[in-house]
Protein backbone atom coordinates (compact mmCIF):
# COMPACT_ATOMS: atom_id res chain seq x y z
CA UNK A 1 0.00 0.00 0.00
CA UNK A 2 1.19 3.42 -0.89
CA UNK A 3 0.27 4.61 2.57
CA UNK A 4 2.78 7.39 3.11
CA UNK A 5 1.96 9.48 0.05
CA UNK A 6 0.54 12.88 0.86
CA UNK A 7 -2.75 13.41 -0.88
CA UNK A 8 -3.69 16.74 0.62
CA UNK A 9 -1.06 19.24 1.59
CA UNK A 10 -1.71 22.58 3.26
CA UNK A 11 1.12 25.09 3.52
CA UNK A 12 0.65 28.05 5.83
CA UNK A 13 -2.96 28.47 4.80
CA UNK A 14 -4.42 31.71 6.14
CA UNK A 15 -7.98 32.96 5.97
CA UNK A 16 -9.14 36.24 7.45
CA UNK A 17 -12.72 37.47 7.81
CA UNK A 18 -12.74 41.20 8.42
CA UNK A 19 -10.77 41.42 11.68
CA UNK A 20 -11.16 37.77 12.61
CA UNK A 21 -8.36 35.37 11.75
CA UNK A 22 -10.17 32.12 10.96
CA UNK A 23 -7.07 30.25 9.91
CA UNK A 24 -3.60 31.28 11.00
CA UNK A 25 -0.87 29.73 8.84
CA UNK A 26 -2.19 26.20 9.00
CA UNK A 27 0.07 23.52 7.60
CA UNK A 28 -0.74 19.85 7.48
CA UNK A 29 -0.38 16.79 5.30
CA UNK A 30 -3.02 14.16 4.87
CA UNK A 31 -1.95 10.75 3.65
CA UNK A 32 -3.55 8.71 0.93
CA UNK A 33 -6.25 6.39 2.31
CA UNK A 34 -6.21 7.95 5.74
CA UNK A 35 -9.16 8.70 8.03
CA UNK A 36 -8.07 12.13 9.16
CA UNK A 37 -10.09 14.11 11.69
CA UNK A 38 -9.98 17.78 12.47
CA UNK A 39 -11.13 18.31 16.02
CA UNK A 40 -11.85 21.54 17.79
CA UNK A 41 -14.49 23.65 19.51
CA UNK A 42 -16.96 25.56 17.36
CA UNK A 43 -15.44 28.64 15.80
CA UNK A 44 -11.92 27.21 15.82
CA UNK A 45 -11.68 27.33 12.03
CA UNK A 46 -12.14 23.64 11.27
CA UNK A 47 -15.10 24.12 8.94
CA UNK A 48 -13.28 26.94 7.16
CA UNK A 49 -10.39 24.58 6.61
CA UNK A 50 -12.70 22.03 5.02
CA UNK A 51 -14.34 24.64 2.80
CA UNK A 52 -10.93 25.80 1.61
CA UNK A 53 -10.06 22.24 0.59
CA UNK A 54 -13.41 21.93 -1.21
CA UNK A 55 -12.86 25.25 -2.98
CA UNK A 56 -16.00 26.83 -1.51
CA UNK A 57 -13.84 29.44 0.17
CA UNK A 58 -10.51 30.95 -0.76
CA UNK A 59 -7.37 31.43 1.33
CA UNK A 60 -5.82 34.86 1.77
CA UNK A 61 -2.37 33.32 1.82
CA UNK A 62 -0.65 29.97 1.68
CA UNK A 63 -1.13 27.12 -0.70
CA UNK A 64 -3.16 23.97 -1.01
CA UNK A 65 -2.14 20.91 -2.97
CA UNK A 66 -4.37 17.96 -3.71
CA UNK A 67 -2.67 14.97 -5.28
CA UNK A 68 0.38 17.13 -5.89
CA UNK A 69 -1.58 19.68 -7.89
CA UNK A 70 -1.80 23.31 -6.75
CA UNK A 71 -5.47 24.18 -6.26
CA UNK A 72 -5.02 27.91 -6.71
CA UNK A 73 -7.73 29.18 -9.05
CA UNK A 74 -9.35 25.74 -9.36
CA UNK A 75 -13.11 26.08 -8.78
CA UNK A 76 -14.94 23.55 -6.58
CA UNK A 77 -16.47 21.79 -9.58
CA UNK A 78 -13.03 20.85 -10.90
CA UNK A 79 -11.53 19.53 -7.68
CA UNK A 80 -11.08 15.83 -7.00
CA UNK A 81 -12.92 16.03 -3.71
CA UNK A 82 -16.52 15.88 -2.57
CA UNK A 83 -18.19 17.05 0.56
CA UNK A 84 -20.83 15.78 2.94
CA UNK A 85 -22.44 18.94 4.26
CA UNK A 86 -23.35 19.53 7.85
CA UNK A 87 -27.09 19.64 7.15
CA UNK A 88 -26.61 17.29 4.20
CA UNK A 89 -27.87 19.87 1.63
CA UNK A 90 -29.95 17.27 -0.14
CA UNK A 91 -31.79 18.67 -3.15
CA UNK A 92 -35.42 18.83 -2.00
CA UNK A 93 -36.86 18.76 -5.51
CA UNK A 94 -35.14 15.51 -6.49
CA UNK A 95 -35.78 11.99 -5.29
CA UNK A 96 -33.09 9.87 -3.68
CA UNK A 97 -31.91 8.34 -6.97
CA UNK A 98 -31.60 11.72 -8.71
CA UNK A 99 -29.83 13.18 -5.69
CA UNK A 100 -27.26 10.38 -5.76
CA UNK A 101 -26.90 10.64 -9.54
CA UNK A 102 -26.69 14.43 -9.54
CA UNK A 103 -22.92 14.58 -9.87
CA UNK A 104 -22.62 11.88 -12.54
CA UNK A 105 -23.84 14.00 -15.45
CA UNK A 106 -20.39 14.71 -16.82
CA UNK A 107 -19.03 11.21 -16.37
CA UNK A 108 -20.07 10.16 -19.88
CA UNK A 109 -22.00 7.15 -18.63
CA UNK A 110 -24.84 5.54 -20.55
CA UNK A 111 -28.25 5.59 -18.91
CA UNK A 112 -27.93 1.97 -17.80
CA UNK A 113 -24.39 2.38 -16.53
CA UNK A 114 -25.44 5.39 -14.56
CA UNK A 115 -28.44 3.60 -13.11
CA UNK A 116 -26.35 0.58 -12.15
CA UNK A 117 -23.80 2.75 -10.46
CA UNK A 118 -26.46 4.60 -8.49
CA UNK A 119 -28.19 1.39 -7.42
CA UNK A 120 -24.87 -0.15 -6.34
CA UNK A 121 -24.11 2.95 -4.31
CA UNK A 122 -27.56 2.92 -2.72
CA UNK A 123 -27.00 -0.69 -1.68
CA UNK A 124 -23.57 0.18 -0.29
CA UNK A 125 -25.06 2.78 2.03
CA UNK A 126 -28.04 0.53 2.78
CA UNK A 127 -30.60 2.64 0.98
CA UNK A 128 -31.57 -0.08 -1.50
CA UNK A 129 -35.20 0.24 -2.61
CA UNK A 130 -35.53 3.84 -1.44
CA UNK A 131 -34.49 5.40 -4.76
CA UNK A 132 -37.95 6.81 -5.49
CA UNK A 133 -38.38 8.48 -2.11
CA UNK A 134 -38.38 12.25 -1.83
CA UNK A 135 -36.00 13.77 0.74
CA UNK A 136 -38.96 14.87 2.85
CA UNK A 137 -39.88 11.23 3.40
CA UNK A 138 -36.49 10.27 4.83
CA UNK A 139 -35.27 10.03 8.41
CA UNK A 140 -32.19 11.88 9.59
CA UNK A 141 -29.99 8.82 9.25
CA UNK A 142 -31.28 8.12 5.75
CA UNK A 143 -30.63 11.69 4.64
CA UNK A 144 -27.13 11.37 5.96
CA UNK A 145 -26.64 8.26 3.83
CA UNK A 146 -28.00 10.01 0.75
CA UNK A 147 -25.48 12.81 1.25
CA UNK A 148 -22.73 10.23 1.66
CA UNK A 149 -23.80 8.23 -1.40
CA UNK A 150 -24.11 11.36 -3.52
CA UNK A 151 -20.50 12.26 -2.76
CA UNK A 152 -19.01 8.74 -2.87
CA UNK A 153 -20.65 7.76 -6.16
CA UNK A 154 -18.29 10.19 -7.91
CA UNK A 155 -15.34 8.25 -6.49
CA UNK A 156 -13.49 11.34 -5.26
CA UNK A 157 -9.87 11.22 -4.15
CA UNK A 158 -10.85 12.91 -0.90
CA UNK A 159 -14.16 12.88 0.91
CA UNK A 160 -14.73 15.89 3.14
CA UNK A 161 -17.20 15.46 5.98
CA UNK A 162 -18.42 18.48 7.93
CA UNK A 163 -19.79 17.24 11.26
CA UNK A 164 -21.95 14.72 9.41
CA UNK A 165 -23.14 12.99 12.57
CA UNK A 166 -23.97 16.11 14.56
CA UNK A 167 -27.67 16.12 13.69
CA UNK A 168 -28.27 12.49 14.63
CA UNK A 169 -29.37 11.19 18.02
CA UNK A 170 -26.89 9.38 20.22
CA UNK A 171 -27.56 5.73 19.38
CA UNK A 172 -27.81 6.39 15.64
CA UNK A 173 -24.64 8.45 15.81
CA UNK A 174 -22.73 5.61 17.43
CA UNK A 175 -24.00 3.13 14.85
CA UNK A 176 -23.03 5.52 12.03
CA UNK A 177 -19.55 5.96 13.47
CA UNK A 178 -18.89 2.28 13.08
CA UNK A 179 -20.55 2.18 9.68
CA UNK A 180 -18.65 5.19 8.38
CA UNK A 181 -15.34 3.76 9.51
CA UNK A 182 -16.09 0.44 7.83
CA UNK A 183 -17.21 2.19 4.66
CA UNK A 184 -14.01 4.22 4.58
CA UNK A 185 -11.91 1.08 4.90
CA UNK A 186 -13.86 -0.74 2.19
CA UNK A 187 -13.78 2.07 -0.39
CA UNK A 188 -10.25 3.15 0.50
CA UNK A 189 -11.01 6.82 -0.07
CA UNK A 190 -9.23 9.41 2.05
CA UNK A 191 -11.66 10.91 4.56
CA UNK A 192 -11.21 14.33 6.11
CA UNK A 193 -13.64 14.44 8.97
CA UNK A 194 -14.47 17.59 10.90
CA UNK A 195 -15.98 17.23 14.35
CA UNK A 196 -16.17 18.85 17.76
CA UNK A 197 -16.86 15.50 19.42
CA UNK A 198 -13.62 14.14 20.87
CA UNK A 199 -14.93 10.59 21.38
CA UNK A 200 -16.03 10.48 17.76
CA UNK A 201 -12.62 11.61 16.60
CA UNK A 202 -10.78 9.17 18.88
CA UNK A 203 -12.84 6.15 17.89
CA UNK A 204 -12.81 6.69 14.12
CA UNK A 205 -9.57 8.34 13.07
CA UNK A 206 -6.14 7.24 11.99
CA UNK A 207 -4.85 10.66 12.88
CA UNK A 208 -6.37 13.75 14.46
CA UNK A 209 -5.48 17.42 14.17
CA UNK A 210 -6.60 19.45 17.18
CA UNK A 211 -7.45 23.04 16.33
CA UNK A 212 -8.02 26.09 18.46
CA UNK A 213 -8.32 29.75 17.46
CA UNK A 214 -7.45 29.08 13.84
CA UNK A 215 -4.28 27.17 14.67
CA UNK A 216 -3.36 23.53 14.80
CA UNK A 217 -2.11 22.57 18.23
CA UNK A 218 -1.20 18.96 17.61
CA UNK A 219 -1.47 16.30 14.93
CA UNK A 220 -1.21 12.76 16.23
CA UNK A 221 -2.79 9.33 16.40
CA UNK A 222 -5.70 9.00 18.85
CA UNK A 223 -3.54 7.19 21.41
CA UNK A 224 -0.71 9.71 21.18
CA UNK A 225 -3.13 12.58 21.44
CA UNK A 226 -4.72 11.21 24.56
CA UNK A 227 -1.65 9.82 26.29
CA UNK A 228 0.90 12.37 25.13
CA UNK A 229 -0.82 15.69 24.50
CA UNK A 230 1.73 18.39 23.66
CA UNK A 231 0.07 21.20 25.58
CA UNK A 232 -2.49 21.70 28.38
CA UNK A 233 -5.14 22.88 25.89
CA UNK A 234 -5.05 19.63 23.97
CA UNK A 235 -4.93 17.71 27.27
CA UNK A 236 -8.05 19.49 28.51
CA UNK A 237 -9.93 19.33 25.23
CA UNK A 238 -9.49 15.58 24.92
CA UNK A 239 -10.75 13.91 28.07
CA UNK A 240 -10.36 15.25 31.61
CA UNK A 241 -7.10 16.22 33.22
CA UNK A 242 -5.91 17.08 36.74
CA UNK A 243 -3.23 19.77 36.90
CA UNK A 244 -0.65 20.35 39.66
CA UNK A 245 2.10 22.83 40.12
CA UNK A 246 5.64 21.47 39.91
CA UNK A 247 9.11 22.91 40.46
CA UNK A 248 12.29 21.39 39.09
CA UNK A 249 14.80 20.56 41.82
CA UNK A 250 17.59 19.25 39.70
CA UNK A 251 18.71 17.31 36.68
CA UNK A 252 19.43 13.64 37.33
CA UNK A 253 22.53 11.78 36.19
CA UNK A 254 20.48 9.83 33.62
CA UNK A 255 19.29 13.05 31.95
CA UNK A 256 15.88 13.16 33.63
CA UNK A 257 14.57 15.64 36.16
CA UNK A 258 13.78 15.59 39.85
CA UNK A 259 10.62 17.59 40.43
CA UNK A 260 8.87 18.73 43.56
CA UNK A 261 5.16 18.14 42.75
CA UNK A 262 2.39 19.78 44.81
CA UNK A 263 0.89 17.25 47.20
CA UNK A 264 3.06 14.40 45.94
CA UNK A 265 6.57 15.25 47.03
CA UNK A 266 9.68 14.67 44.95
CA UNK A 267 9.14 12.70 41.75
CA UNK A 268 11.82 11.60 39.32
CA UNK A 269 11.00 11.92 35.63
CA UNK A 270 12.86 10.23 32.80
CA UNK A 271 12.44 13.06 30.32
CA UNK A 272 13.25 16.72 30.50
CA UNK A 273 11.36 19.83 29.49
CA UNK A 274 12.87 22.24 27.06
CA UNK A 275 15.41 24.51 28.82
CA UNK A 276 14.76 22.72 32.08
CA UNK A 277 16.86 23.92 34.99
CA UNK A 278 16.51 23.91 38.77
CA UNK A 279 13.83 26.31 39.97
CA UNK A 280 11.70 26.07 36.79
CA UNK A 281 8.06 26.00 37.77
CA UNK A 282 5.73 24.15 35.43
CA UNK A 283 2.57 22.04 35.22
CA UNK A 284 2.20 18.38 36.05
CA UNK A 285 -0.92 16.56 34.92
CA UNK A 286 -2.72 13.26 35.50
CA UNK A 287 -5.73 11.75 33.75
CA UNK A 288 -8.53 10.76 36.18
CA UNK A 289 -8.40 7.10 35.22
CA UNK A 290 -4.65 6.83 35.86
CA UNK A 291 -5.26 7.35 39.57
CA UNK A 292 -6.14 4.28 41.59
CA UNK A 293 -8.23 4.65 44.77
CA UNK A 294 -7.66 2.23 47.62
CA UNK A 295 -8.44 2.04 51.32
CA UNK A 296 -4.86 0.99 52.17
CA UNK A 297 -1.47 2.35 51.20
CA UNK A 298 -0.05 0.66 48.09
CA UNK A 299 3.54 0.15 46.94
CA UNK A 300 3.05 2.17 43.75
CA UNK A 301 5.76 4.70 42.86
CA UNK A 302 3.54 7.52 44.05
CA UNK A 303 0.95 7.01 46.76
CA UNK A 304 -0.67 9.85 48.67
CA UNK A 305 -3.35 10.10 51.32
CA UNK A 306 -6.55 11.97 50.59
CA UNK A 307 -10.11 12.53 51.62
CA UNK A 308 -13.19 11.98 49.45
CA UNK A 309 -14.94 15.33 48.88
CA UNK A 310 -17.75 14.04 46.74
CA UNK A 311 -18.55 11.04 44.63
CA UNK A 312 -21.01 10.31 41.90
CA UNK A 313 -21.94 6.78 40.94
CA UNK A 314 -22.32 6.10 37.17
CA UNK A 315 -22.76 2.33 37.28
CA UNK A 316 -19.70 1.11 35.42
CA UNK A 317 -17.55 3.67 37.17
CA UNK A 318 -17.62 6.27 39.89
CA UNK A 319 -16.39 9.80 39.52
CA UNK A 320 -14.77 10.89 42.77
CA UNK A 321 -13.32 14.18 43.94
CA UNK A 322 -10.46 13.67 46.36
CA UNK A 323 -8.63 16.43 48.21
CA UNK A 324 -4.99 15.92 49.10
CA UNK A 325 -2.72 18.04 51.27
CA UNK A 326 -0.68 20.56 49.34
CA UNK A 327 -3.17 20.85 46.47
CA UNK A 328 -5.68 23.65 46.36
CA UNK A 329 -8.24 21.97 44.10
CA UNK A 330 -9.49 18.42 44.65
CA UNK A 331 -8.45 15.79 42.12
CA UNK A 332 -10.94 14.09 39.85
CA UNK A 333 -10.58 10.33 39.91
CA UNK A 334 -12.53 7.90 37.82
CA UNK A 335 -12.68 4.49 39.42
CA UNK A 336 -13.93 1.45 37.56
CA UNK A 337 -16.29 -0.48 39.75
CA UNK A 338 -14.55 -3.83 39.50
CA UNK A 339 -15.50 -4.83 43.04
CA UNK A 340 -19.31 -4.82 43.41
CA UNK A 341 -19.07 -3.36 46.91
CA UNK A 342 -16.18 -1.01 46.13
CA UNK A 343 -18.18 2.09 45.34
CA UNK A 344 -20.04 1.93 48.65
CA UNK A 345 -16.89 2.80 50.61
CA UNK A 346 -16.20 5.90 48.54
CA UNK A 347 -18.50 8.17 50.47
CA UNK A 348 -17.87 11.79 51.37
CA UNK A 349 -15.30 12.13 54.11
CA UNK A 350 -13.77 8.69 53.63
CA UNK A 351 -10.00 8.43 53.97
CA UNK A 352 -8.42 6.96 50.85
CA UNK A 353 -5.06 6.51 49.15
CA UNK A 354 -4.38 7.58 45.59
CA UNK A 355 -1.74 5.63 43.65
CA UNK A 356 -0.28 6.43 40.29
CA UNK A 357 2.62 5.12 38.23
CA UNK A 358 5.23 7.60 37.10
CA UNK A 359 4.24 6.94 33.48
CA UNK A 360 0.79 8.36 34.30
CA UNK A 361 2.23 11.80 34.94
CA UNK A 362 2.64 14.40 32.20
CA UNK A 363 4.52 17.68 32.32
CA UNK A 364 3.96 20.96 30.46
CA UNK A 365 5.93 24.19 30.39
CA UNK A 366 4.17 27.19 31.91
CA UNK A 367 4.37 29.38 28.81
CA UNK A 368 2.54 26.78 26.78
CA UNK A 369 -0.45 27.28 29.00
CA UNK A 370 -0.56 30.96 28.17
CA UNK A 371 -0.05 30.20 24.49
CA UNK A 372 -2.61 27.45 24.21
CA UNK A 373 -5.40 28.95 26.29
CA UNK A 374 -8.82 28.39 24.70
Amino acid sequence: MNGQRHLVELQELTRRYDDHLALDKVSLRIRQGEFFSILGPSGCGKSTLLRLIAGLDWPDAGSLLIDGRDMRGVPPYRRPCNMVFQNYAIFPHLNVRDNVGYGLRKFGLSATEKRERIEAMLLAVRLGGLGDRKPGQLSGGQRQRVALARALVRQPRVLLLDEPLGALDKSLREAMQVELRELQQSVGITFVFVTHDQEEALSMSDRIAVMSDGRILQIASPVDLYERPNCPTVAKFIGDMNFFGGVTEGITASGGALVQVDGMGAVEFDGRLENEKPGLSHQVAIRPEKLRVTGERTDAAICVRGKVVSSSYWGDQSQIQVSIDGCATPLTVSAHNVDPAGAEHLVRGADVYLSVNRSGLLRFCEEEIAHGRV
Partner: protein, 265 residues
Protein backbone atom coordinates in the same frame (compact mmCIF):
# COMPACT_ATOMS: atom_id res chain seq x y z
CA UNK B 1 -72.56 36.90 26.59
CA UNK B 2 -70.11 39.59 25.54
CA UNK B 3 -68.14 37.02 23.59
CA UNK B 4 -71.23 36.03 21.68
CA UNK B 5 -72.14 39.63 21.00
CA UNK B 6 -68.61 40.25 19.79
CA UNK B 7 -68.90 37.35 17.39
CA UNK B 8 -72.25 38.59 16.15
CA UNK B 9 -70.77 42.03 15.53
CA UNK B 10 -67.89 40.51 13.65
CA UNK B 11 -70.25 38.52 11.47
CA UNK B 12 -72.35 41.58 10.64
CA UNK B 13 -69.30 43.63 9.87
CA UNK B 14 -67.60 41.07 7.69
CA UNK B 15 -70.70 40.08 5.74
CA UNK B 16 -71.54 43.75 5.20
CA UNK B 17 -68.03 44.33 3.99
CA UNK B 18 -68.17 41.41 1.57
CA UNK B 19 -71.51 42.59 0.14
CA UNK B 20 -70.12 46.10 -0.32
CA UNK B 21 -67.02 44.67 -1.97
CA UNK B 22 -68.59 42.22 -4.36
CA UNK B 23 -72.13 43.36 -5.08
CA UNK B 24 -71.11 45.98 -7.66
CA UNK B 25 -68.94 43.37 -9.33
CA UNK B 26 -71.80 40.88 -9.44
CA UNK B 27 -73.99 43.50 -11.17
CA UNK B 28 -71.69 43.37 -14.19
CA UNK B 29 -72.30 39.73 -15.17
CA UNK B 30 -76.00 40.01 -14.31
CA UNK B 31 -76.64 42.88 -16.70
CA UNK B 32 -74.37 41.39 -19.32
CA UNK B 33 -77.04 38.72 -19.83
CA UNK B 34 -79.92 41.22 -19.66
CA UNK B 35 -81.77 41.86 -22.91
CA UNK B 36 -81.88 45.66 -22.66
CA UNK B 37 -79.64 48.67 -23.44
CA UNK B 38 -80.45 50.22 -20.08
CA UNK B 39 -78.74 49.21 -16.88
CA UNK B 40 -81.76 49.24 -14.61
CA UNK B 41 -84.08 46.85 -12.79
CA UNK B 42 -86.36 45.04 -13.41
CA UNK B 43 -84.32 42.64 -15.51
CA UNK B 44 -85.52 41.84 -18.98
CA UNK B 45 -85.20 38.54 -20.81
CA UNK B 46 -81.99 36.48 -20.73
CA UNK B 47 -79.71 36.91 -23.75
CA UNK B 48 -76.19 36.18 -24.91
CA UNK B 49 -76.32 38.69 -27.74
CA UNK B 50 -73.93 41.12 -26.04
CA UNK B 51 -71.32 38.41 -25.97
CA UNK B 52 -72.00 37.63 -29.62
CA UNK B 53 -71.69 41.30 -30.47
CA UNK B 54 -68.43 41.37 -28.58
CA UNK B 55 -67.01 38.44 -30.50
CA UNK B 56 -67.90 40.01 -33.84
CA UNK B 57 -66.35 43.41 -33.09
CA UNK B 58 -62.84 43.53 -34.68
CA UNK B 59 -61.70 46.58 -32.70
CA UNK B 60 -62.43 44.81 -29.42
CA UNK B 61 -60.49 41.78 -30.57
CA UNK B 62 -57.62 44.09 -31.54
CA UNK B 63 -57.70 45.76 -28.11
CA UNK B 64 -57.78 42.37 -26.42
CA UNK B 65 -54.83 41.23 -28.52
CA UNK B 66 -52.70 44.26 -27.67
CA UNK B 67 -53.63 43.95 -23.98
CA UNK B 68 -52.54 40.31 -23.97
CA UNK B 69 -49.30 41.12 -25.79
CA UNK B 70 -48.50 43.99 -23.44
CA UNK B 71 -49.35 41.95 -20.33
CA UNK B 72 -47.27 39.00 -21.52
CA UNK B 73 -44.25 41.13 -22.35
CA UNK B 74 -44.56 43.07 -19.08
CA UNK B 75 -44.88 39.89 -17.03
CA UNK B 76 -41.82 38.26 -18.59
CA UNK B 77 -39.62 41.36 -18.45
CA UNK B 78 -40.48 42.34 -14.89
CA UNK B 79 -40.18 38.75 -13.64
CA UNK B 80 -36.84 38.29 -15.38
CA UNK B 81 -35.40 41.39 -13.73
CA UNK B 82 -37.24 40.49 -10.53
CA UNK B 83 -35.39 37.17 -10.38
CA UNK B 84 -32.03 38.87 -10.87
CA UNK B 85 -32.81 41.51 -8.26
CA UNK B 86 -34.28 39.18 -5.64
CA UNK B 87 -31.35 36.83 -6.04
CA UNK B 88 -28.81 39.62 -5.74
CA UNK B 89 -30.53 40.97 -2.64
CA UNK B 90 -30.70 37.58 -0.92
CA UNK B 91 -27.47 36.01 -2.12
CA UNK B 92 -25.02 38.80 -1.44
CA UNK B 93 -24.52 41.24 1.36
CA UNK B 94 -24.75 44.47 -0.59
CA UNK B 95 -23.98 47.94 0.56
CA UNK B 96 -27.02 50.22 0.84
CA UNK B 97 -29.22 47.13 0.67
CA UNK B 98 -32.13 48.74 2.50
CA UNK B 99 -32.09 51.94 0.47
CA UNK B 100 -31.90 49.84 -2.67
CA UNK B 101 -34.97 47.89 -1.70
CA UNK B 102 -36.80 51.10 -0.84
CA UNK B 103 -35.92 52.57 -4.25
CA UNK B 104 -37.21 49.43 -5.95
CA UNK B 105 -40.50 49.53 -4.06
CA UNK B 106 -41.05 53.25 -4.60
CA UNK B 107 -43.12 53.00 -7.84
CA UNK B 108 -45.85 51.26 -5.82
CA UNK B 109 -46.57 54.50 -3.96
CA UNK B 110 -46.05 56.96 -6.81
CA UNK B 111 -49.49 57.82 -8.27
CA UNK B 112 -49.90 56.21 -11.66
CA UNK B 113 -51.24 59.48 -12.96
CA UNK B 114 -47.88 61.08 -12.30
CA UNK B 115 -46.02 58.13 -13.77
CA UNK B 116 -48.26 58.23 -16.85
CA UNK B 117 -47.80 61.93 -17.47
CA UNK B 118 -44.06 61.90 -16.85
CA UNK B 119 -43.56 58.86 -19.07
CA UNK B 120 -45.61 60.55 -21.77
CA UNK B 121 -43.40 63.61 -21.64
CA UNK B 122 -40.18 61.62 -21.36
CA UNK B 123 -40.93 59.21 -24.19
CA UNK B 124 -41.95 62.04 -26.48
CA UNK B 125 -38.81 63.99 -25.61
CA UNK B 126 -36.58 61.03 -26.34
CA UNK B 127 -38.52 60.48 -29.52
CA UNK B 128 -39.34 56.84 -28.86
CA UNK B 129 -42.97 57.48 -29.57
CA UNK B 130 -46.04 55.90 -28.05
CA UNK B 131 -47.82 52.60 -28.56
CA UNK B 132 -47.59 49.09 -27.25
CA UNK B 133 -43.92 49.20 -26.30
CA UNK B 134 -44.36 52.46 -24.47
CA UNK B 135 -47.12 50.82 -22.42
CA UNK B 136 -44.88 47.79 -21.75
CA UNK B 137 -42.18 50.15 -20.50
CA UNK B 138 -44.62 51.91 -18.19
CA UNK B 139 -46.18 48.69 -16.93
CA UNK B 140 -42.81 47.12 -16.25
CA UNK B 141 -42.08 50.09 -14.02
CA UNK B 142 -45.10 49.41 -11.82
CA UNK B 143 -44.97 45.60 -12.02
CA UNK B 144 -41.29 45.21 -11.17
CA UNK B 145 -41.72 45.98 -7.42
CA UNK B 146 -44.44 43.33 -7.15
CA UNK B 147 -42.25 40.80 -8.93
CA UNK B 148 -39.37 41.58 -6.57
CA UNK B 149 -41.61 41.31 -3.50
CA UNK B 150 -42.93 37.90 -4.51
CA UNK B 151 -39.54 36.53 -5.55
CA UNK B 152 -37.79 37.88 -2.45
CA UNK B 153 -40.05 35.79 -0.26
CA UNK B 154 -39.18 32.77 -2.38
CA UNK B 155 -35.43 33.34 -2.38
CA UNK B 156 -35.22 34.22 1.29
CA UNK B 157 -34.39 31.19 3.35
CA UNK B 158 -32.97 29.55 0.27
CA UNK B 159 -30.30 27.23 1.62
CA UNK B 160 -26.97 28.35 0.21
CA UNK B 161 -25.53 24.93 0.95
CA UNK B 162 -27.68 23.52 -1.87
CA UNK B 163 -25.83 25.63 -4.41
CA UNK B 164 -22.51 24.79 -2.81
CA UNK B 165 -23.41 21.11 -2.94
CA UNK B 166 -24.12 21.44 -6.65
CA UNK B 167 -20.77 23.16 -7.27
CA UNK B 168 -19.10 20.50 -5.18
CA UNK B 169 -20.74 17.79 -7.29
CA UNK B 170 -19.18 19.14 -10.45
CA UNK B 171 -21.70 21.61 -11.83
CA UNK B 172 -20.67 25.13 -12.84
CA UNK B 173 -22.53 28.15 -11.40
CA UNK B 174 -24.60 28.42 -14.59
CA UNK B 175 -25.62 24.75 -14.53
CA UNK B 176 -26.25 25.05 -10.82
CA UNK B 177 -28.70 27.84 -11.48
CA UNK B 178 -30.68 25.71 -13.92
CA UNK B 179 -30.53 22.47 -11.99
CA UNK B 180 -31.07 23.77 -8.46
CA UNK B 181 -32.02 27.42 -8.14
CA UNK B 182 -34.49 27.64 -11.00
CA UNK B 183 -36.55 24.53 -10.18
CA UNK B 184 -36.77 25.54 -6.53
CA UNK B 185 -37.74 29.12 -7.40
CA UNK B 186 -40.18 28.05 -10.12
CA UNK B 187 -43.37 28.37 -8.06
CA UNK B 188 -42.36 31.93 -7.18
CA UNK B 189 -41.49 32.70 -10.78
CA UNK B 190 -44.86 31.44 -12.01
CA UNK B 191 -46.66 33.40 -9.30
CA UNK B 192 -44.76 36.53 -10.27
CA UNK B 193 -45.55 36.08 -13.98
CA UNK B 194 -49.25 35.60 -13.29
CA UNK B 195 -49.55 38.51 -10.89
CA UNK B 196 -47.64 41.00 -13.04
CA UNK B 197 -49.65 39.81 -16.04
CA UNK B 198 -52.89 40.64 -14.21
CA UNK B 199 -51.64 44.01 -13.01
CA UNK B 200 -50.64 44.99 -16.53
CA UNK B 201 -53.81 43.62 -18.07
CA UNK B 202 -56.04 45.63 -15.69
CA UNK B 203 -54.01 48.82 -15.70
CA UNK B 204 -55.74 51.86 -17.16
CA UNK B 205 -54.04 55.19 -16.46
CA UNK B 206 -50.60 54.51 -17.86
CA UNK B 207 -52.09 52.66 -20.81
CA UNK B 208 -54.46 55.57 -21.39
CA UNK B 209 -51.55 58.01 -21.64
CA UNK B 210 -49.16 55.86 -23.60
CA UNK B 211 -51.14 53.52 -25.82
CA UNK B 212 -51.89 56.13 -28.55
CA UNK B 213 -53.53 54.39 -31.51
CA UNK B 214 -53.18 50.92 -30.00
CA UNK B 215 -55.65 50.98 -27.08
CA UNK B 216 -55.55 48.26 -24.50
CA UNK B 217 -58.78 46.62 -23.44
CA UNK B 218 -59.44 48.89 -20.41
CA UNK B 219 -58.74 51.96 -22.54
CA UNK B 220 -61.02 50.72 -25.32
CA UNK B 221 -63.72 49.92 -22.78
CA UNK B 222 -63.51 53.46 -21.41
CA UNK B 223 -63.94 54.79 -24.92
CA UNK B 224 -67.05 52.70 -25.48
CA UNK B 225 -68.83 54.15 -22.46
CA UNK B 226 -69.62 57.25 -24.51
CA UNK B 227 -72.01 55.21 -26.60
CA UNK B 228 -74.99 53.99 -24.56
CA UNK B 229 -75.76 51.24 -27.02
CA UNK B 230 -72.30 49.80 -26.54
CA UNK B 231 -72.65 49.67 -22.76
CA UNK B 232 -74.09 46.12 -22.44
CA UNK B 233 -71.31 44.62 -24.52
CA UNK B 234 -68.81 46.55 -22.39
CA UNK B 235 -70.40 44.84 -19.39
CA UNK B 236 -70.01 41.50 -21.10
CA UNK B 237 -66.36 42.24 -21.73
CA UNK B 238 -65.89 43.37 -18.12
CA UNK B 239 -67.43 40.13 -16.88
CA UNK B 240 -65.02 38.10 -18.94
CA UNK B 241 -62.07 40.04 -17.63
CA UNK B 242 -63.22 39.54 -14.03
CA UNK B 243 -63.50 35.79 -14.52
CA UNK B 244 -60.13 35.57 -16.24
CA UNK B 245 -58.40 37.75 -13.62
CA UNK B 246 -59.92 35.72 -10.83
CA UNK B 247 -58.64 32.48 -12.32
CA UNK B 248 -55.15 33.85 -12.93
CA UNK B 249 -54.79 35.35 -9.44
CA UNK B 250 -56.03 32.14 -7.82
CA UNK B 251 -53.45 30.11 -9.71
CA UNK B 252 -50.75 32.61 -8.77
CA UNK B 253 -51.65 32.39 -5.10
CA UNK B 254 -51.75 28.61 -5.17
CA UNK B 255 -48.33 28.52 -6.82
CA UNK B 256 -46.92 30.96 -4.33
CA UNK B 257 -48.13 28.90 -1.39
CA UNK B 258 -46.97 25.64 -2.83
CA UNK B 259 -44.31 24.06 -0.74
CA UNK B 260 -41.80 21.90 -2.51
CA UNK B 261 -40.98 20.20 0.75
CA UNK B 262 -37.62 21.80 1.16
CA UNK B 263 -36.15 22.47 4.49
CA UNK B 264 -33.12 20.30 4.56
CA UNK B 265 -32.58 21.25 8.15
Amino acid sequence: MTARRGRRLRQVFSSGYLVYLYLPIVILPIFSFNDSFYISFPLQAFTTRWYEELASDPSIIAALASSLQIAAATALISTFFGVLTARALTRYRLRYQKSMLAAIMLPIVIPELILGVSLLVALNQVGLGLGKWAVVAGHTLICFPFAVAILLSRFEGFDLALEEASLDLGESPWQTFWRVVFPLALPGIVASVLLTFTISFDEFLIAFFLSASEPTLPVYLWGQLRFPKKLPSALALGSLIIVASFIVVTIAELMRRRRTGWGTK
